[in-house]
Symmetry: C2
Subunit: 248 residues, 2 copies
């Protein structure tokens, strides 16, 4: 399992990904799922992946090596994509090529072709964007109405995002809320686990302002988990008991 979320607010982009992979409960490992590509001042891009690890790694490797465009002869990579939109299209194309190549073999082994991506960033001169690419290679873009996207185990961590994230929140508040969302998910799904990789990119800087791995026991995240738990306990304690009385 996996949980990744991307939050795109006025001030910039936050991307958060866990690192747990598992093939069954008895085979658990740590793999990086958040990959950052940058040419400081020119472009910052990040991919977070969910689903079958062999598929997501293949897509990322292919996007680094590039795929040949038969019309132009150009080797198309993420780093030479002219726009964020075209970069997202390239990821979708690689996903589709991979499906053609491996889909039937996987199906024959009853492995579902399951892979999805968050892809966010900014190229100099363009606006900052965040996309979610599905396993069919199609994709959607994050907008200001709902300024976040999630992949993987999205349900446990969605309520806090829905309540707390708006386009106008401070960039590091967005990171904080994303970490609370990650905490809620980790508490309820053992398939999502530490360490946690985070990226913060401020709008129009075209570089990573923060690219960091939160390891188990890291003091701030530990404190955030404790405070959130205590606040939730206080929150339901403060609500009066139901006044209903009498059986019907």
């Amino acid at each position: 399992m996996t949980y990744c979320c991307g939050i795109l607010v006025r001030e910039g982009l936050v991307m958060i990904a866990d690192t747990r992979t598992n093939a069954g409960l008895d085979n658990v490992s740590t793999f990086r799922k958040l990959h950052v590509f940058k040419q400081p001042g020119e472009r910052i891009m990040a991919i977070a992946s969910s689903g079958n690890l062999s598929l997501s790694q293949s897509v990322v490797s292919t996007m680094i090596e590039g795929i040949e465009n038969k019309d132009t002869g150009e080797r198309e990579t993420l780093m030479n994509a002219p726009t964020m939109f075209q970069a997202a299209q390239r990821i979708g194309r690689v996903v589709r090529q991979l499906h053609e190549l491996e889909g039937s073999a996987l199906e024959a082994s009853e492995v579902k072709f399951d892979v999805s991506f968050l892809f966010g960033g900014q190229i100099k001169g363009e606006r900052m964007r965040l996309f979610m690419v599905y396993s069919a290679g199609n994709f959607i873009e994050c907008t200001t109405d709902t300024p976040y996207l999630q992949i993987g185990e999205h349900k446990y961590g969605k309520p806090v995002l829905d309540r707390a994230v708006t386009y106008g929140v401070d960039l590091y508040d967005a990171l904080k809320i994303g970490l609370i969302s990650m905490d809620s998910t980790m508490r309820s799904n053992l398939g999502v686990g530490m360490p946690i990789d985070i990226l913060v990119a401020r709008r129009d800087v075209c570089d990573a302002e923060l690219s960091y791995r939160i390891e188990p026991g890291e003091p701030y995240f530990h404190d955030l988990r404790e405070r959130w738990s205590a606040a939730l306990r206080a929150a339901h304690n403060a609500i009066p008991r139901p006044p209903y009385a009498g059986a019907s």
Copy 2:
């Protein structure tokens, strides 16, 4: 979709069910999913159901009409079950009979045989019990370690139960936490909706202490939703921003 939860604490049993059913997003209705059976002072039983409505209604109707036991000739209903355990077994048997009868016809129409139940209550002289019956007719029982069970859309409402419900909480605090859990679920899944049916049964009374329907706009539940939202906002506002700084 559906969300039902049952909470079994030291003082008694709480059962909560929404009433929304839908066949696609364009066909939404209200149906009671929480059914209470009682003989005050002797036995109190309640079934909450999730899954295909035709299946869950068939099971409940059959448990009222009874099924003939070929060995004894007796008509076995919920109300004449000697113990809660045997009552749960009867529900499981009816689910299996229904699967034999209708499973292949449903499958031919690509309808999944999907139905599950929470079944709780107490028979005089026995302890209070709470079960979850699966669509294969097997069932599990709630214990003091995790004093709740859920069916339907369980993920959104699970974190608050995990954090707040223990076997020792006050009976009406359990109801309150169950209602917060229902609120979280309704906010995130349109397939779960009001009105909400609730049952509270105090241990060893063998009757419903409260059997009530919360209608849309009901003041206490409205206030609970507002307070919970405000408390969550305050909770994440009170957590300091992440101290991480500097790109790596």
